[in-house]
């Protein structure tokens, strides 16, 4: 179903949808940037089309909507456990194709990786409808085309934002009632970005051997990376978490268990009971992350974990570029080039 809608009509629809859905989109959080008098673009609830920021990439990804940073799994007393109820609201998220593909990666990890589905993830995830923002230009650091994640057909609604109107491709028939009374029918098929400024070549997974594991290329990251974890916290596909048992009382009988995002670049990630950590150097951590994103995950699932959103590049305070790192590996593995570049 295609529609052309005036912006104000689209806003009317959003308004009506709000009775049933929580609507999230990329928006501006004023003065909440790292530096004073700067804003941050992140995901939050929006009221109208004008709240949606389209000309800047979000610093944080939309993953926090379905995979909260801190999530209580259950409350416990001495002899009882209570799982919190799932939130009732259904959810609409405005996001770009790379992020939809990113959430597919999260689906893979949380729903298909082990013998059991992650119920906490599933119960939020099944409430979500994607409103895909057509993306044909991208941003400087994006390399979604190389990662084959520039396209997706998995959306409820795809939207092209024009100056005064929007073009809609409606796939989800549940939403038909909201749209059919507005605007005029007009066929619309979203386009996708064909070429990014940043491109990567990924070394063929089978060719990456143990030699690469020990390669000196990682030393550079030991020197440069400060282990702040921003690349992980901004990444749409990083899904690691840790567990915390929080006691409310001094005698440790009542409390909650929650899970919290973890980051493989941060110190405590590999710490085991007794305090021993097995990837002490930042370079080793970079290697682990890189291999997970463009090698190991592929071996298991047949597609890469990284979707090339480029956020890790945008947020790194040390200007470490993940796409550059991938290309270095390629040149070492595929071209036998061992010179530092």
């Amino acid at each position: 179903m295609g529609y052309q809608l005036l912006n104000k009509d689209f806003n009317d629809i959003l308004n009506q949808l709000k009775s049933e859905y929580k609507i999230y989109g990329p928006k501006r959080f004023e003065n909440k940037g790292r530096f004073s008098d700067t804003d941050v673009i992140g995901y939050g609830e929006i009221d109208k089309l004008e709240d949606i920021v389209l000309d800047e990439k979000t610093y944080f990804s939309p993953k926090e909507i379905i995979y909260p940073i801190r999530q209580t799994l259950f409350y416990f007393t001495e002899d009882e456990v209570k799982v919190p109820d799932a939130p009732e609201d259904k959810v609409i998220v405005f996001l770009r194709p790379c992020d939809i593909n990113g959430i597919k990666r999260l689906d893979t990890i949380f729903l298909e990786n082990g013998p059991y589905k992650d119920v906490y993830y599933e119960r939020l995830r099944e409430k979500v409808k994607f409103f895909m923002i057509e993306c044909t230009e991208g941003f400087d650091s994006c390399f979604c085309v190389s990662m084959n994640s520039n396209k997706t057909h998995d959306y409820a609604v795809a939207i092209r934002f024009n100056e005064e109107n929007v073009l809609i491709d409606l796939k989800d028939r549940d939403l038909l009632e909201y749209f059919e009374n507005y605007g005029k029918a007009e066929e619309f098929t979203p386009e996708y970005i064909k070429e990014n400024k940043a491109k990567v070549s990924i070394p063929y997974p089978e060719k990456v051997t143990n030699e690469m594991f020990e390669h000196e290329v990682w030393q550079e990251y030991t020197r440069r990376c400060i282990g702040c974890g921003r690349c992980n916290t901004s990444c749409i596909t990083c899904s690691c978490f840790t567990m915390q048992d929080v006691y409310y009382d001094a005698n440790k009988k009542v409390g909650e268990r929650r899970r919290v995002w973890a980051s493989c670049q941060i110190d405590v990630f590999t710490n085991m009971a007794g305090g021993h950590g097995f990837r002490e150097k930042q370079g080793q951590r970079m290697r682990f992350k890189t291999m997970h994103k463009i090698n190991d995950f592929y071996k298991r699932f047949g597609f890469h974990m990284c979707v090339g959103c480029g956020r890790c590049d945008d947020v790194c305070p040390e200007y470490i570029s993940f796409s550059k790192c991938i290309n270095k590996l390629y040149s070492i593995v595929e071209e036998g080039n061992n010179d530092e570049k």
Partner: protein
């Protein structure tokens, strides 16, 4: 040679060690200026001076080697500087072709602030300009500097008034991944105001100096700056030949309006308590004479402090005395 020395000095020209030669002083509030003004400074130095310029500690320029009789000409030449750096920011100068009308209150200097520096908690240039507008021109000897954060790169602690920008970190527990970057950094580089308890960051309000380092460190935006901008005002730091000392905190967690009003009020205080027999007296020594409480009462006149604000009950200025007896007078018979 007949020169009205007092008039020359008030006009921001110096009496120099070389007889017959003066030096022009140019104010640059906040130390930030468009480079087009360099052309004027260069021309003056080449045509009237010795081809050099000194960059002063207060972020002004001093152009030496000028003949006294060239002052009117030079004053006409610096008109665009006076217009651009003073009139345009709201300073009231009656005749911009006659040079600077006062030199007692020194250039308000400022660190680079949040135009460039990631640590800064506000735009220092804007604040220096607002202060300059309120207090210049003025003959009283007052030194003011503003700095973007407690790193105090401008050395606000060496001023009569030092304005330090701070923020009140806002902690959103729901975004915290317990990485402790904020806690470790505050312990290592600041005051150790943060603790990690029960997987959550806990702040000791009394220890937090509002530097904002924790905000910079946080990878998830769990720590952010407060919407309100706050300032710490340190006072009566000085160098000099009697009792050099570092400025002490007078007000903490106050707003911009308070800072400006307090500095303005200080001029009335000086007016009332300055030792008129001396001709000029640096404000710090006036406070030494009247005591902190008299100063405090005068500068807080009509100032409405918000609840978060803190005022020093007492200040031990300390510093060291070159000669303690210098502070005793003999009883004259």
């Amino acid at each position: 040679m007949s020169i009205d020395v007092k008039k020359v000095k008030k006009n921001a020209f110096r009496i120099t060690k070389q007889r017959g030669k003066t030096a022009l002083r140019i104010r640059v509030p906040g130390g930030h200026l468009e480079v087009k003004y360099f052309d004027i400074i260069k021309e003056i130095a080449e045509k009237y001076g010795d081809g050099t310029v000194h960059i002063t500690i207060r972020q002004g320029f001093e152009v030496p080697g000028i003949d006294f009789d060239k002052m009117p000409e030079i004053n006409r030449m610096i008109k665009p500087i006076i217009e651009g750096l003073e009139l345009d920011i709201g300073v009231n100068i009656d005749d911009p072709e006659a040079g600077y009308p006062a030199a007692g209150t020194r250039n308000v200097s400022g660190c680079i602030g949040n135009k460039v520096c990631p640590f800064a908690n506000y735009n220092t240039t804007d604040l220096t300009r607002k202060i300059e507008k309120e207090i210049f021109p003025n003959d009283y000897h007052v030194k003011i500097a503003v700095t973007g954060c407690p790193n105090d790169c401008i050395k606000a602690h060496m001023q009569d008034f030092g304005v330090i920008g701070i923020t009140e970190p806002q902690y959103d527990e729901g975004r915290c991944i317990s990485c402790q970057a904020c806690v470790k950094n505050c312990r290592k580089r600041v005051t150790g105001a943060l603790k990690f308890e029960n997987y959550t960051v806990v702040k000791d309000e009394d220890r937090c100096i509002g530097c904002g380092e924790c905000v910079l460190k946080c990878p998830t935006g769990a720590m952010t700056r407060s919407k309100e901008k706050y300032y710490r005002l340190v006072i009566m730091g000085r160098t000099g030949k009697k009792n050099p000392r570092i400025a002490r905190t007078f007000l903490n967690w106050v707003d911009e309006e308070t800072v400006i009003k307090v500095i303005k009020n200080c001029y009335d205080y000086i007016d009332e308590y300055i030792d008129k027999s001396l001709g000029k007296e640096h404000v710090g020594y006036i406070v030494d004479r009247t005591g902190y409480n008299v100063f405090k009462e005068a500068v807080l006149k009509d100032v409405k402090l918000r609840t978060k604000a803190k005022i020093a009950d007492y200040i031990d200025f300390g510093g060291y005395m070159y000669e303690r007896n210098r502070f005793f007078s003999e009883v004259s018979r």
